[in-house]
């Protein structure tokens, strides 16, 4: 009886993991198509490329990590106003990266602030791959 219960608990745990909110797949596919359109040699989004890009500065005073910290599982703080920012990684904050309008709104604003232009589909996809790869 005991091993059976354990197995059920393990199954429930696995199921709850698989039902975690995710980046809307249609949005990821459209980013992928756009990335391929811009560069036919494009392979796949890369979490490690996304991490490097997240922590790097791109010609302004700020990087993504300036407000979100180098650990997106932790809370951040707005560089100007000091307002707390909830964690960016879905593993720490399941509401994140689930709504395309919100994702796009923040990419528009923050890419302008951090790199002075809109982000490319590859840059967006890499950062999303990085953020969703993080585990608690």
């Amino acid at each position: 009886m005991q091993p059976k219960l354990l197995a059920m608990a393990a199954l429930l745990f696995a199921l709850s993991g698989s039902t975690l909110a995710e980046v809307p797949p249609d949005y990821l596919r459209s980013l992928q198509a756009a990335a391929r359109g811009a560069d036919p040699a494009f392979g796949a989004f890369s979490a490690s490329r996304g991490q490097g890009w997240f922590n790097a500065r791109h010609g302004t005073d700020w990087s993504c990590a300036t407000c979100h910290t180098e650990n997106p599982l932790a809370a951040g703080r707005h560089a100007t106003t000091g307002r707390p920012i909830a964690p960016l990684a879905p593993a720490a904050n399941p509401a994140r990266l689930t709504d395309v309008d919100r994702i796009e709104k923040w990419f528009k604003r923050n890419c302008n602030d951090v790199i002075g232009r809109a982000c490319t589909p590859t840059e967006k996809g890499d950062v999303l791959a990085y953020l969703t790869s993080l585990k608690r």
Partner: protein
């Protein structure tokens, strides 16, 4: 005759005290007016994610219009939002705007009342790590997010006070 004098003295006391009371009342009312309500969830969500959702009454209607027309360059950051949402929020802010004199500049910290109220705060406090910016009401106004800016809830952080 004596009674007449007594009555006059009594009248004088009643009049003086009611005048004094009338003079004190507005003070009590102004303390209460430092509490605001922000009932608009869209305003709290959109504007309150980067800074405390400033009470709309702290700026005049024209100042809000100017701010909402320049969200892509909003105090050094891009704070743009979709047109429909922007129109809705502008209408809310204009309808809830304040009417205080000297609130015309599209920046709360430039208003005459703001400078007067914060005159005793040292420059070092404003620039301390705990405060960072005058935009950070919550650094000292512990209940700012709930719209309470009363003196009672002010806590200047120790680090900043030093």
């Amino acid at each position: 005759m004596l009674d007449e004098r007594k009555r006059k003295a009594f009248d004088a006391i009643v009049w003086t005290s009611s005048l004094l009371f009338a003079a004190v009342l507005p003070l009590a009312a102004s303390a209460d007016s430092q509490r605001y309500t922000n009932e608009n969830p869209s305003y709290r969500a959109e504007c309150g994610s980067c800074h405390v959702a400033y009470p709309p009454a702290l700026l005049g209607a024209d100042a809000w219009r100017t701010i909402m027309n320049g969200l892509d360059r909003h105090f050094g950051t891009d704070a743009s939002i979709g047109d429909a949402r922007r129109a809705g929020l502008t209408a809310y802010l204009v309808a809830s705007a304040g009417t205080r004199k000297g609130s015309d500049a599209p920046r709360i910290t430039e208003a005459r009342w703001f400078r007067k109220e914060h005159g005793e705060i040292a420059a070092a406090t404003w620039h301390s790590r705990a405060v960072k910016s005058a935009a950070n009401c919550e650094a000292c106004h512990s209940q700012a997010a709930a719209g309470d800016f009363s003196e009672r809830s002010v806590r200047v952080p120790l680090e900043a006070a030093r």
